[in-house]
Amino acid sequence: MPVKVNITGEREPRIVEVSRIRVKDLLAKLGLNPTEYVVLKDGEILVDDDEVVDGEAVTVFTVKSGG
């Protein structure tokens, strides 16, 4: 089973075919800038070097900085 990535605002999850991947590499694979996105797994905030493995699902959302 691949890693399922739910990006908020997108209707369909993206599927990434990997067995194990670091968060920063996952974001890079998805073409997302790591300084603009937060990654959650089961409600836990993940950091760059945390790993996601085959079969897991994560939620990714963009952080806006304007005011």
């Binding site: 908020t8 605002g9 790591p34 300084t35 603009e36 996105y37 937060v38 959650l40 089961d42 409600g43 836990e44 905030i45 950091v47 760059d48 939620t59 959302f61 963009t62 952080v63 806006k64 900085s65 304007g66 005011g67």
Partner: protein
Amino acid sequence: MRGVTGTLSPEELERYSRQIPVIGVEGQLRLKNSSILVAGAGGLGSAVLHYLVAMGVGRIIVIDEGLVELSNLQRQILYTVDDIGKPKVTVAYHKLKKLNPNVEITPVHARITEEIIDDYVKSVDVVVDALDNWETRFILDKACWRLGKPLVHAGVGEFYGQVTTIIPGKTPCLRCLFQGVDKTEKKPVIVMGHIPGLLGLLEVNEVVKIILGVGEPLINKLALFNAKTNSMEIVEIKKFECQVCHE
């Protein structure tokens, strides 16, 4: 939060007559006895200040180092072309005092730094982040954490924005929630004019819930607003590790 003390004048009873049936005289007195620090008097701050003053909070401190610029007027609804070049907080003070003279407003024309922010944070009940950069947000966040004050955060961009309420000891602080963001990054705000208004009012809604003790503030929840799809997704934060709040 302060208790319910004092009375409402006949003028105040008339002024707030459309919301007193909702929150009662006791609720209105809670608002009147409350004090709020609004950090930033830009797009978010304009909306936040307008409504907090209109609804009758007791005391507001507004801090911002900026001067009104032409490019602000697309979204910063407190200002007009007559105000260009003037300190935002000074203009805001005069406009807001005309809206509701009952509210004590302290304008502070200054940059938010670690040296000055504690004195302002410690003197209020709730802090509102209406800032436009992470470096200053994290200074404010750290002070709120140190002093145990609720911090209502929002950020906006394009057609989107996020809102959450940080409660020291109960939620991650802003720094650990957004630990990946580049705090040195400074770029112009790119946003549709109405978006800071929408998100600013969601911040006001958080302040109201905290002061009145009603409803469910966004504690350990992040509301992600998408104006294109009219959707607000609530992301729940269940676990976190912190660089600041666990120090």
